[in-house]
């Protein structure tokens, strides 16, 4: 290497060309910088992983116990006198019978020495107050059991369930515990008699909401979320894809389409509560659609998802190489044929990924649904998109706000169900992408 000077363009000043510095010190500094940069990257990724792990651990450690439930085996005498004195087997009579009395009798038989009124009331709390419905269903399904004595496994009351799961401590003084020493004693007695069972909680996955934690289930919210998501997909996907394709392939490039494009990008950043207010004014106020319905929820969320779908579709369509279009035109395809036969199929993986990311965001929304009445206590599992219903994040919020201790685990279990729903949706996105992905 030789140094030389070069006349500058201006002709007066001269610049020296830089000579590469190959000294060992500088080289080792460069390597060190690269190692540092890699280390930062690894640190950032591990920090994110630790956060995620913390989140998952805290949710799962609180929530896993909600999938198990304490049940108590009692020998219930299905007394014909109590249920159906005239032996009519008429469902109306069977429905009206006092099944709570049967449970109370069975409990009193277990603890004959509990006689005081207040103590007995406390004793009856051992069994959930929804247990009578279980007996009623048994009798309705099989009236032949009237007059017999059956061993029935009944739901335990929420406080006793918490005691069994160790979420209510036995060590604190009696005054600071929800359960008295007597109640703990009764439960221990039942346990030593082998009457306490700990089984998988199918009710949690098969029933709707309840104010009693032990009876509360996630199915109502799960179905509500599913119906809302279906409505959202059905509306947002075709509308979004069609608008994007028109804007990208057919629309003239002029001031108007520029304004539309800017506004679509703006719309993607609008806070979700604004869409809720819009839904309240337009869908409920103007069109008179029913409150608390997944239909309206889906409409509102599809407005929210639409910009995401449009932007994702436009990006995917833009990414299809021009050579494919030109080849199609070259063999005489019309513009519509080019788009439908070539561009759209090739853009599908990108469109689907974008759409599912938009949907995943919509699935987690609760703010816009407040305005249209989906933040509500609804017991019945919805059957159609116009039945009142709630959605998973709202259910989590409502449980998190309930005073009973047993709702803490339900809240975390609800989050777990929501996460599984999300993971399934993302898995679907990955599957679609793998399936349709083309390389060129």
């Amino acid at each position: 290497m030789t140094d030389f000077t070069m006349p500058s363009v201006a002709g007066t000043a001269t610049t020296r060309l830089r000579k590469p510095d190959l000294s060992p010190g500088r080289i080792s500094r460069r390597y060190a910088a690269e190692r540092r940069f890699r280390l930062y990257g690894v640190l950032a990724v591990s920090l994110a992983m630790v956060m995620l792990a913390l989140l998952l651990v805290s949710i799962v450690s609180k929530g896993y116990s909600a999938f198990m439930q304490t049940r108590i085996n009692l020998d219930i005498a299905f007394d014909a006198q109590e249920i159906d004195p005239q032996n009519t087997h008429d469902p109306a009579v069977l429905k009206a019978a006092n099944y709570t009395a049967l449970i109370r009798k069975a409990l009193s038989a277990q603890f004959p020495d509990v006689t005081e009124r207040i103590d007995r009331r406390r004793l009856y709390d051992v069994v959930s107050n929804g247990a009578d419905l279980q007996l009623m269903k048994m009798v309705l399904a099989n009236p032949a059991i009237i007059g017999t004595t059956q061993s029935v496994s009944l739901l335990a009351g929420d406080d006793f369930d918490m005691l069994n799961k160790g979420r209510i401590s036995r060590d604190v003084p009696e005054a600071e515990r929800v359960l008295s020493d007597k109640q703990v004693g009764w439960f221990d007695k039942l346990q030593s008699a082998g009457r306490v069972h700990y089984a998988f909680n199918t009710d949690f996955l098969t029933s709707g909401d309840s104010r009693e934690p032990e009876q509360a289930g996630i199915l109502g919210a799960l179905v509500g979320s599913l119906l809302t998501m279906i409505t959202t997909v059905v509306l947002a996907l075709p509308l979004g894809v069609m608008s994007a394709i028109y804007l990208e392939e057919f629309a003239p490039k002029n001031r108007l389409t520029d304004i539309i494009e800017v506004n679509i990008n703006n719309l993607a950043a609008v806070p979700s509560i604004v869409f809720g207010l819009l839904g309240l004014a337009v869908f409920l106020g103007f069109f008179g659609l029913p409150r608390s319905a997944p239909l309206v929820g889906g409409l509102v969320l599809s407005l929210m998802t639409l910009p995401t779908v449009i932007i994702a579709t436009r990006t995917a369509v833009k990414a299809v190489p021009p050579s494919i279009r030109e080849a199609a035109y070259g063999v005489g395809a019309s513009q519509l044929q080019v788009v439908l036969h070539h561009v759209l199929p090739l853009a599908t993986p990108g469109i689907m990924t974008g759409a599912i990311i938009g949907l995943a965001r919509a699935l987690g929304e609760s703010a816009p649904l407040l305005m249209i009445g989906m933040v509500a206590f609804i017991v019945d599992v919805p059957h159609s998109i116009v039945d009142p219903s709630t959605v998973l994040p709202v259910q989590v919020y409502l449980w998190a706000d309930s005073p009973e201790r047993a709702f803490v685990e339900r809240t975390s279990a609800g989050i777990m169900v929501l996460l599984v729903f999300l993971v399934l949706m993302n898995a679907a996105a990955i599957f679609v992408r793998r399936r349709f992905e083309r390389r060129w």
Binding site: V172, A175, R177, L235, P238, L344, A376, S384, A400, D401
Partner: protein, 343 residues
């Protein structure tokens, strides 16, 4: 093929829309809105009512008292709620709105009381507060040497030398909450009314504002509508105090302790007897015009005011509602069942 599936999707969307339009027919399910404080009790009653089997379980929305009454007063008909729950009395201005929109007969039903407590973690010191202490600790402006100045107090000891030297840090509900309104009315207004500097303000409006304004320099922390969240924060921060409903204290008695207010502990008995004065009545409002249109409305009211639900040992009481005294409960039940309009 793509073409057809797209068309199919669009068609399904249209079918969905038309289904919605036809569904706005007569309603067979009660629709209840309103306060998040009344929500746990209203939902317990709604569930029992649904379990009885004659009617569908009502839909209960948690919108806050103000939001609920607004919806309730929007008019008469299937698309408006039948009942509004409230943790405060309906305002005259709201009754006016109701009238303007054709809601001309409303029944007010008092269901019980809710105690508001100041509590902290068991690891912190037990506090014996007075309403004056609380006002001085939390007001935006307090009297010092005869003048109202921005709150200078940093610790509880600065406020009252008998209190511990702990930093003032109170977690409470935001301005949208009925609990906050009640706290201001029952504690802050009470605490300031004997202060000569406040009495010196002649304008009533300015006086109320001076009493009720909470400090914004970190002494009072807006902790959101969720009372359980406040409870969790208190557990992890023994130095802080929280403001929330009594039922949350009852459920977390192993971790939290309620501060004494004017020498009275926030216990169930003290709130029932009225000795603990930081408590407020809870209501629901019925739209009488719906009584004969929506099936189950009268029966739901009957269930709510029955002894089984809101009597001294009712199931709503088990959920943390403080019952009315027996004679008042009977009176409330009678006027509710008769649908006596307040307008």
């Amino acid at each position: 093929m793509k073409r057809y599936s797209l068309a199919l999707l669009a068609a399904t969307g249209l079918v969905g829309l038309t289904m919605g339009a036809t569904a706005a027919e007569a309603r067979d399910q009660l629709h209840i809105v309103g306060s998040s404080t009344v929500f746990p009790f209203a939902t317990a009653v709604a569930e029992q009512f649904g379990k009885a089997g004659s009617f569908k379980t009502p839909v209960v929305e948690s919108t806050g008292s103000g939001g609920g009454i607004k919806l309730f007063c929007a008019g008469v008909g299937d698309d408006t709620p039948d009942i509004a729950n409230a943790s405060r009395k309906i305002k005259d201005s709201e009754i006016e709105t109701c009238k303007k929109n054709g809601v001309t007969a409303i029944t007010e039903v008092t269901i019980g009381y809710d105690g508001i407590v100041l509590a902290n973690s068991k690891q912190g010191p037990a506090l014996k507060l007075t309403v004056q202490d609380v006002w001085k600790a939390l007001a935006k402006q307090v009297p010092v040497d005869g003048k109202l100045v921005d709150n200078p107090y940093k610790t509880w000891q600065d406020v009252n030398k008998d209190l511990p030297a702990e930093k003032i840090e109170v977690l409470g509900p935001p301005t949208t909450s009925g609990t906050r309104d009640a706290f201001v009315e029952l504690v802050m207004d009470e605490g300031c009314k004997d202060s000569p500097e406040i009495k010196a303000i002649s304008d009533a409006k300015a006086r109320t504002a001076a009493c009720g304004a909470l400090r914004e320099d970190g002494g009072y922390i807006d902790a959101g509508e969720n009372d359980n969240l406040i409870v969790q924060k208190l557990e992890s921060n023994p130095a802080a105090l929280g403001i929330f409903g009594y039922s949350y204290l009852e459920q977390n008695a192993d971790k939290l302790q309620g501060s004494l207010m004017d020498g009275v502990a926030p216990t169930f008995e003290n709130i029932v007897s009225g000795k603990y004065e930081v408590s407020r009545p809870l209501f629901f409002y019925v739209k009488n015009q719906h009584a004969d249109k929506v099936p189950g409305l009268r029966e739901y009211i009957a269930e709510f005011v029955s002894d089984k639900a809101t009597g001294q040992e009712g199931y709503a009481i088990d959920k943390g509602l403080i019952p009315l005294p027996e004679d008042k409960h009977k009176e409330a039940a009678e006027s509710a069942n008769a649908l006596k309009s307040m307008m």
